[in-house]
Protein backbone atom coordinates (compact mmCIF):
# COMPACT_ATOMS: atom_id res chain seq x y z
CA UNK A 1 0.00 0.00 0.00
CA UNK A 2 1.25 3.43 -0.91
CA UNK A 3 0.64 6.03 1.81
CA UNK A 4 -1.05 9.34 1.07
CA UNK A 5 2.04 11.36 1.85
CA UNK A 6 4.18 9.26 -0.45
CA UNK A 7 1.58 9.45 -3.18
CA UNK A 8 1.50 13.22 -2.90
CA UNK A 9 5.28 13.43 -3.11
CA UNK A 10 5.38 11.04 -6.03
CA UNK A 11 2.90 13.20 -7.91
CA UNK A 12 5.20 16.22 -7.84
CA UNK A 13 7.45 15.01 -10.64
CA UNK A 14 6.42 14.30 -14.20
CA UNK A 15 7.47 10.90 -15.61
CA UNK A 16 10.67 12.18 -17.25
CA UNK A 17 11.73 13.99 -14.08
CA UNK A 18 10.94 10.96 -11.95
CA UNK A 19 12.97 8.72 -14.24
CA UNK A 20 15.87 11.13 -14.05
CA UNK A 21 15.61 11.35 -10.28
CA UNK A 22 15.68 7.56 -9.93
CA UNK A 23 18.68 7.27 -12.23
CA UNK A 24 20.52 9.96 -10.26
CA UNK A 25 19.80 8.08 -7.04
CA UNK A 26 21.02 4.92 -8.75
CA UNK A 27 24.30 6.62 -9.62
CA UNK A 28 24.79 7.54 -5.97
CA UNK A 29 23.50 4.32 -4.42
CA UNK A 30 24.58 1.42 -6.63
CA UNK A 31 27.54 -0.14 -4.93
CA UNK A 32 27.51 -3.60 -6.48
CA UNK A 33 28.53 -4.74 -9.94
CA UNK A 34 25.56 -7.05 -10.01
CA UNK A 35 22.24 -5.88 -11.46
CA UNK A 36 20.62 -8.40 -9.11
CA UNK A 37 21.76 -6.38 -6.13
CA UNK A 38 20.10 -3.07 -6.94
CA UNK A 39 18.87 -1.78 -3.55
CA UNK A 40 15.37 -1.19 -4.89
CA UNK A 41 13.78 -0.49 -1.53
CA UNK A 42 16.38 2.06 -0.47
CA UNK A 43 16.20 3.84 -3.81
CA UNK A 44 12.40 3.96 -3.80
CA UNK A 45 12.48 5.27 -0.23
CA UNK A 46 15.04 7.94 -1.08
CA UNK A 47 12.83 9.01 -3.98
CA UNK A 48 9.77 9.02 -1.74
CA UNK A 49 7.92 6.54 -3.91
CA UNK A 50 6.83 2.95 -3.58
CA UNK A 51 8.81 -0.02 -4.78
CA UNK A 52 5.93 -0.71 -7.16
CA UNK A 53 6.20 2.71 -8.76
CA UNK A 54 9.94 2.23 -9.28
CA UNK A 55 9.14 -1.00 -11.14
CA UNK A 56 6.61 0.94 -13.18
CA UNK A 57 9.50 3.01 -14.57
CA UNK A 58 11.96 0.12 -14.74
CA UNK A 59 10.22 -3.25 -15.12
CA UNK A 60 13.24 -5.21 -13.84
CA UNK A 61 16.32 -4.53 -11.74
CA UNK A 62 18.37 -5.13 -14.85
CA UNK A 63 16.46 -2.44 -16.76
CA UNK A 64 17.22 -0.03 -13.96
CA UNK A 65 20.86 -1.05 -13.87
CA UNK A 66 21.23 -0.60 -17.63
CA UNK A 67 19.63 2.87 -17.46
CA UNK A 68 21.98 3.91 -14.65
CA UNK A 69 25.00 2.47 -16.50
CA UNK A 70 23.96 4.36 -19.64
CA UNK A 71 23.82 7.59 -17.65
CA UNK A 72 27.20 6.81 -16.04
CA UNK A 73 28.75 6.28 -19.48
CA UNK A 74 27.20 9.56 -20.69
CA UNK A 75 28.56 11.46 -17.71
CA UNK A 76 31.97 9.82 -18.11
CA UNK A 77 32.19 11.05 -21.70
CA UNK A 78 30.93 14.46 -20.60
CA UNK A 79 33.45 15.01 -17.83
CA UNK A 80 36.32 13.76 -19.99
CA UNK A 81 35.39 15.89 -23.01
CA UNK A 82 38.71 17.37 -24.19
CA UNK A 83 39.06 21.07 -23.45
CA UNK A 84 40.13 22.78 -26.69
CA UNK A 85 41.46 25.71 -24.64
CA UNK A 86 44.29 23.54 -23.33
CA UNK A 87 47.48 22.48 -25.07
CA UNK A 88 47.75 18.86 -26.21
CA UNK A 89 49.47 17.38 -23.19
CA UNK A 90 47.53 19.47 -20.67
CA UNK A 91 44.32 18.54 -22.43
CA UNK A 92 45.15 14.86 -22.24
CA UNK A 93 46.10 15.21 -18.59
CA UNK A 94 42.86 17.02 -17.72
CA UNK A 95 40.74 14.37 -19.46
CA UNK A 96 42.62 11.51 -17.81
CA UNK A 97 42.32 13.14 -14.39
CA UNK A 98 38.57 13.62 -14.88
CA UNK A 99 38.29 10.00 -16.02
CA UNK A 100 40.12 8.58 -13.02
CA UNK A 101 38.23 10.78 -10.57
CA UNK A 102 34.87 9.89 -12.07
CA UNK A 103 35.71 6.21 -11.95
CA UNK A 104 36.78 6.44 -8.31
CA UNK A 105 33.34 7.87 -7.49
CA UNK A 106 31.44 5.29 -9.55
CA UNK A 107 33.50 2.20 -8.97
CA UNK A 108 30.82 -0.50 -9.15
CA UNK A 109 29.27 0.89 -12.33
CA UNK A 110 32.69 1.27 -13.92
CA UNK A 111 33.59 -2.35 -13.24
CA UNK A 112 30.20 -3.43 -14.56
CA UNK A 113 30.75 -1.46 -17.76
CA UNK A 114 34.33 -2.53 -18.36
CA UNK A 115 34.05 -6.16 -17.41
CA UNK A 116 30.52 -7.12 -18.18
CA UNK A 117 28.99 -8.66 -15.11
CA UNK A 118 26.91 -11.50 -13.82
CA UNK A 119 23.54 -11.17 -15.43
CA UNK A 120 24.81 -8.57 -17.87
CA UNK A 121 24.06 -8.70 -21.53
CA UNK A 122 24.54 -7.22 -24.97
CA UNK A 123 23.07 -3.93 -23.80
CA UNK A 124 25.66 -3.26 -21.08
CA UNK A 125 28.35 -4.50 -23.45
CA UNK A 126 27.13 -2.12 -26.14
CA UNK A 127 27.31 0.88 -23.80
CA UNK A 128 30.86 0.02 -22.89
CA UNK A 129 31.89 -0.64 -26.49
CA UNK A 130 30.53 2.74 -27.58
CA UNK A 131 32.35 4.48 -24.76
CA UNK A 132 35.63 2.84 -25.81
CA UNK A 133 35.08 3.73 -29.47
CA UNK A 134 34.27 7.33 -28.60
CA UNK A 135 37.37 7.62 -26.41
CA UNK A 136 39.53 6.31 -29.25
CA UNK A 137 37.81 8.62 -31.74
CA UNK A 138 38.61 11.62 -29.55
CA UNK A 139 42.29 10.74 -29.35
CA UNK A 140 42.46 10.29 -33.13
CA UNK A 141 40.72 13.62 -33.58
CA UNK A 142 42.98 15.37 -31.08
CA UNK A 143 45.92 14.12 -33.12
CA UNK A 144 44.41 15.68 -36.22
CA UNK A 145 44.29 12.36 -38.05
CA UNK A 146 41.38 11.82 -40.40
CA UNK A 147 42.11 8.36 -41.63
CA UNK A 148 44.89 6.96 -39.43
CA UNK A 149 47.15 4.12 -40.42
CA UNK A 150 45.80 0.82 -39.04
CA UNK A 151 48.83 0.60 -36.73
CA UNK A 152 47.97 3.98 -35.21
CA UNK A 153 44.27 3.14 -34.88
CA UNK A 154 45.16 -0.14 -33.18
CA UNK A 155 47.60 1.57 -30.82
CA UNK A 156 44.94 4.07 -29.77
CA UNK A 157 42.41 1.29 -29.12
CA UNK A 158 45.10 -0.56 -27.21
CA UNK A 159 45.75 2.50 -25.12
CA UNK A 160 42.06 2.68 -24.18
CA UNK A 161 42.46 -0.91 -22.96
CA UNK A 162 45.59 0.14 -21.09
CA UNK A 163 43.61 2.90 -19.35
CA UNK A 164 40.85 0.50 -18.34
CA UNK A 165 43.20 -2.15 -16.96
CA UNK A 166 45.41 0.30 -15.07
CA UNK A 167 42.35 2.01 -13.62
CA UNK A 168 40.86 -1.32 -12.50
CA UNK A 169 44.20 -2.28 -10.97
CA UNK A 170 44.33 1.05 -9.17
CA UNK A 171 40.81 0.57 -7.79
CA UNK A 172 41.63 -2.96 -6.69
CA UNK A 173 44.84 -2.11 -4.87
CA UNK A 174 44.62 1.56 -3.96
CA UNK A 175 48.37 1.58 -3.33
CA UNK A 176 49.35 3.89 -6.17
CA UNK A 177 49.25 7.66 -5.98
CA UNK A 178 46.63 9.04 -8.37
CA UNK A 179 49.13 11.40 -9.99
CA UNK A 180 51.60 8.59 -10.63
CA UNK A 181 48.82 6.56 -12.25
CA UNK A 182 48.00 9.53 -14.48
CA UNK A 183 51.68 9.99 -15.36
CA UNK A 184 52.02 6.37 -16.50
CA UNK A 185 48.76 6.52 -18.47
CA UNK A 186 49.77 9.74 -20.20
CA UNK A 187 53.30 8.65 -21.08
CA UNK A 188 52.15 5.33 -22.45
CA UNK A 189 49.86 7.06 -24.97
CA UNK A 190 52.79 9.06 -26.26
CA UNK A 191 54.99 5.96 -26.48
CA UNK A 192 52.28 3.78 -28.03
CA UNK A 193 51.77 6.37 -30.74
CA UNK A 194 55.49 6.63 -31.37
CA UNK A 195 55.71 2.85 -31.67
CA UNK A 196 52.71 2.78 -34.01
CA UNK A 197 54.02 5.53 -36.23
CA UNK A 198 57.43 3.87 -36.42
CA UNK A 199 55.74 0.59 -37.30
CA UNK A 200 53.52 2.21 -39.91
CA UNK A 201 56.55 3.84 -41.54
CA UNK A 202 58.69 0.68 -41.44
CA UNK A 203 59.18 -0.98 -44.83
Amino acid sequence: MVGVVTRTRAARLDPEERRGQLIELGLRMLSSESPDRVPVDEIAEAAGISRGLLFHYFPTKRDFYVAVAQEAARQLLEVTEPDPGLHHMERLHASLAAYVDFVAENEALYIALVRGVAGSDKELQGISEETRAESARRVIEALGLDDPDPAVRTAVRGWVGFIEETTLDWLRNRDLDRDRLLAVQQQVLVHALEAAVATALAP
Copy 2:
Protein backbone atom coordinates in the same frame (compact mmCIF):
# COMPACT_ATOMS: atom_id res chain seq x y z
CA MET B 1 16.38 -42.73 -30.48
CA VAL B 2 20.04 -43.63 -30.41
CA GLY B 3 21.00 -46.07 -33.17
CA VAL B 4 22.98 -49.21 -32.47
CA VAL B 5 25.97 -48.03 -34.48
CA THR B 6 26.07 -44.72 -32.63
CA ARG B 7 25.71 -46.44 -29.31
CA THR B 8 28.60 -48.74 -30.11
CA ARG B 9 30.80 -45.84 -31.12
CA ALA B 10 29.82 -43.92 -28.02
CA ALA B 11 30.83 -46.84 -25.83
CA ARG B 12 34.40 -46.80 -27.10
CA LEU B 13 35.45 -43.84 -24.98
CA ASP B 14 35.41 -43.67 -21.22
CA PRO B 15 33.67 -40.64 -19.69
CA GLU B 16 36.85 -38.56 -19.32
CA GLU B 17 37.89 -39.28 -22.91
CA ARG B 18 34.40 -38.49 -24.19
CA ARG B 19 34.38 -35.21 -22.31
CA GLY B 20 37.76 -34.33 -23.75
CA GLN B 21 36.64 -35.27 -27.26
CA LEU B 22 33.54 -33.07 -27.01
CA ILE B 23 35.58 -30.13 -25.72
CA GLU B 24 38.10 -30.54 -28.55
CA LEU B 25 35.23 -30.54 -31.05
CA GLY B 26 33.86 -27.46 -29.32
CA LEU B 27 37.19 -25.69 -29.77
CA ARG B 28 37.07 -26.41 -33.48
CA MET B 29 33.36 -25.82 -34.03
CA LEU B 30 32.28 -22.90 -31.84
CA SER B 31 32.05 -19.90 -34.08
CA SER B 32 29.75 -17.66 -32.07
CA GLU B 33 30.43 -15.62 -28.94
CA SER B 34 27.05 -16.64 -27.61
CA PRO B 35 26.70 -19.74 -25.41
CA ASP B 36 23.13 -19.94 -26.74
CA ARG B 37 24.44 -20.71 -30.20
CA VAL B 38 26.46 -23.81 -29.46
CA PRO B 39 25.83 -26.09 -32.47
CA VAL B 40 24.89 -29.01 -30.25
CA ASP B 41 23.59 -31.23 -33.03
CA GLU B 42 26.67 -30.81 -35.22
CA ILE B 43 29.00 -31.44 -32.32
CA ALA B 44 27.11 -34.56 -31.20
CA GLU B 45 27.11 -35.83 -34.78
CA ALA B 46 30.83 -35.20 -35.18
CA ALA B 47 31.42 -37.12 -31.96
CA GLY B 48 29.17 -39.93 -33.14
CA ILE B 49 26.88 -39.60 -30.14
CA SER B 50 23.33 -38.44 -29.56
CA ARG B 51 22.37 -34.94 -28.56
CA GLY B 52 21.03 -36.46 -25.34
CA LEU B 53 24.39 -37.98 -24.45
CA LEU B 54 26.11 -34.63 -25.02
CA PHE B 55 23.69 -33.08 -22.53
CA HIS B 56 24.53 -35.90 -20.15
CA TYR B 57 28.10 -34.59 -20.05
CA PHE B 58 27.15 -30.91 -20.17
CA PRO B 59 23.66 -30.28 -18.75
CA THR B 60 23.28 -26.94 -20.56
CA LYS B 61 24.79 -25.21 -23.59
CA ARG B 62 26.32 -22.74 -21.18
CA ASP B 63 28.04 -25.51 -19.24
CA PHE B 64 29.51 -26.77 -22.48
CA TYR B 65 30.56 -23.28 -23.51
CA VAL B 66 32.26 -22.65 -20.17
CA ALA B 67 34.14 -25.97 -20.39
CA VAL B 68 35.34 -25.15 -23.90
CA ALA B 69 36.33 -21.62 -22.85
CA GLN B 70 38.25 -23.04 -19.90
CA GLU B 71 40.15 -25.35 -22.22
CA ALA B 72 40.79 -22.46 -24.65
CA ALA B 73 42.23 -20.37 -21.81
CA ARG B 74 44.39 -23.32 -20.72
CA GLN B 75 45.71 -23.83 -24.25
CA LEU B 76 46.30 -20.10 -24.64
CA LEU B 77 48.49 -20.07 -21.54
CA GLU B 78 50.22 -23.24 -22.71
CA VAL B 79 51.13 -21.99 -26.20
CA THR B 80 52.28 -18.63 -24.83
CA GLU B 81 54.42 -20.13 -22.04
CA PRO B 82 57.67 -18.17 -22.19
CA ASP B 83 60.58 -20.17 -23.58
CA PRO B 84 63.48 -19.80 -21.11
CA GLY B 85 65.90 -20.79 -23.92
CA LEU B 86 65.25 -17.49 -25.68
CA HIS B 87 66.59 -14.05 -24.88
CA HIS B 88 64.20 -11.54 -23.30
CA MET B 89 63.01 -9.80 -26.44
CA GLU B 90 62.89 -12.97 -28.54
CA ARG B 91 61.01 -14.69 -25.75
CA LEU B 92 58.45 -11.91 -25.60
CA HIS B 93 58.11 -11.94 -29.38
CA ALA B 94 57.60 -15.72 -29.48
CA SER B 95 54.91 -15.58 -26.78
CA LEU B 96 53.11 -12.68 -28.45
CA ALA B 97 53.21 -14.41 -31.84
CA ALA B 98 51.79 -17.60 -30.30
CA TYR B 99 49.10 -15.53 -28.58
CA VAL B 100 48.01 -13.71 -31.71
CA ASP B 101 48.02 -16.90 -33.81
CA PHE B 102 46.03 -18.82 -31.22
CA VAL B 103 43.49 -16.01 -31.01
CA ALA B 104 43.12 -15.87 -34.78
CA GLU B 105 42.21 -19.56 -34.74
CA ASN B 106 39.80 -19.25 -31.81
CA GLU B 107 38.24 -15.89 -32.49
CA ALA B 108 34.75 -16.42 -31.07
CA LEU B 109 36.01 -17.94 -27.83
CA TYR B 110 38.59 -15.19 -27.45
CA ILE B 111 35.97 -12.47 -27.78
CA ALA B 112 33.74 -14.34 -25.33
CA LEU B 113 36.58 -14.52 -22.81
CA VAL B 114 37.76 -10.96 -23.18
CA ARG B 115 34.45 -9.22 -23.40
CA GLY B 116 32.07 -11.33 -21.44
CA VAL B 117 29.11 -12.15 -23.62
CA ALA B 118 25.37 -12.31 -23.73
CA GLY B 119 24.35 -14.95 -21.25
CA SER B 120 27.83 -15.07 -19.76
CA ASP B 121 28.46 -15.01 -16.08
CA LYS B 122 30.94 -14.93 -13.25
CA GLU B 123 32.44 -18.22 -14.41
CA LEU B 124 33.51 -17.00 -17.86
CA GLN B 125 34.64 -13.76 -16.26
CA GLY B 126 36.71 -15.68 -13.74
CA ILE B 127 38.48 -17.67 -16.46
CA SER B 128 39.37 -14.48 -18.27
CA GLU B 129 40.48 -12.71 -15.09
CA GLU B 130 42.79 -15.60 -14.19
CA THR B 131 44.27 -15.62 -17.68
CA ARG B 132 45.01 -11.89 -17.42
CA ALA B 133 46.53 -12.24 -13.97
CA GLU B 134 48.72 -15.16 -15.10
CA SER B 135 49.90 -13.20 -18.15
CA ALA B 136 50.85 -10.26 -15.93
CA ARG B 137 52.55 -12.60 -13.44
CA ARG B 138 54.69 -14.07 -16.21
CA VAL B 139 55.85 -10.66 -17.38
CA ILE B 140 56.73 -9.65 -13.82
CA GLU B 141 58.61 -12.91 -13.38
CA ALA B 142 60.42 -12.52 -16.70
CA LEU B 143 61.59 -9.13 -15.48
CA GLY B 144 62.98 -10.77 -12.37
CA LEU B 145 60.84 -8.63 -10.06
CA ASP B 146 59.60 -10.25 -6.90
CA ASP B 147 57.59 -7.45 -5.43
CA PRO B 148 57.27 -4.78 -8.10
CA ASP B 149 56.50 -1.15 -7.41
CA PRO B 150 52.74 -0.51 -7.79
CA ALA B 151 53.45 1.65 -10.86
CA VAL B 152 55.23 -1.25 -12.55
CA ARG B 153 52.53 -3.75 -11.59
CA THR B 154 49.87 -1.39 -12.95
CA ALA B 155 51.79 -0.83 -16.18
CA VAL B 156 52.06 -4.58 -16.75
CA ARG B 157 48.33 -5.07 -16.15
CA GLY B 158 47.68 -2.15 -18.46
CA TRP B 159 49.82 -3.76 -21.12
CA VAL B 160 47.74 -6.95 -20.89
CA GLY B 161 44.72 -4.73 -21.59
CA PHE B 162 46.63 -3.15 -24.47
CA ILE B 163 47.25 -6.61 -25.94
CA GLU B 164 43.59 -7.56 -25.67
CA GLU B 165 42.29 -4.36 -27.26
CA THR B 166 44.82 -4.33 -30.09
CA THR B 167 44.15 -8.01 -30.80
CA LEU B 168 40.38 -7.43 -30.87
CA ASP B 169 40.89 -4.44 -33.17
CA TRP B 170 43.06 -6.58 -35.42
CA LEU B 171 40.41 -9.32 -35.57
CA ARG B 172 37.69 -6.77 -36.30
CA ASN B 173 39.49 -5.01 -39.11
CA ARG B 174 42.02 -7.47 -40.48
CA ASP B 175 43.82 -4.61 -42.22
CA LEU B 176 47.02 -4.73 -40.22
CA ASP B 177 49.92 -7.03 -40.98
CA ARG B 178 50.38 -9.55 -38.14
CA ASP B 179 54.06 -8.67 -37.75
CA ARG B 180 53.30 -4.97 -37.45
CA LEU B 181 50.73 -5.74 -34.78
CA LEU B 182 53.34 -7.77 -32.90
CA ALA B 183 55.91 -4.97 -33.27
CA VAL B 184 53.54 -2.40 -31.72
CA GLN B 185 52.56 -4.78 -28.90
CA GLN B 186 56.17 -5.58 -28.11
CA GLN B 187 57.44 -2.00 -28.17
CA VAL B 188 54.60 -0.75 -26.00
CA LEU B 189 55.55 -3.18 -23.23
CA VAL B 190 59.08 -1.82 -23.22
CA HIS B 191 57.83 1.77 -23.20
CA ALA B 192 55.15 1.14 -20.57
CA LEU B 193 57.77 -0.35 -18.28
CA GLU B 194 60.11 2.56 -18.87
CA ALA B 195 57.33 4.99 -18.04
CA ALA B 196 56.40 3.03 -14.92
CA VAL B 197 59.96 2.80 -13.67
CA ALA B 198 60.49 6.52 -14.28
CA THR B 199 57.25 7.24 -12.39
CA ALA B 200 58.18 4.93 -9.54
CA LEU B 201 61.55 6.65 -9.20
CA ALA B 202 60.14 10.18 -9.42
CA PRO B 203 60.12 12.06 -6.12
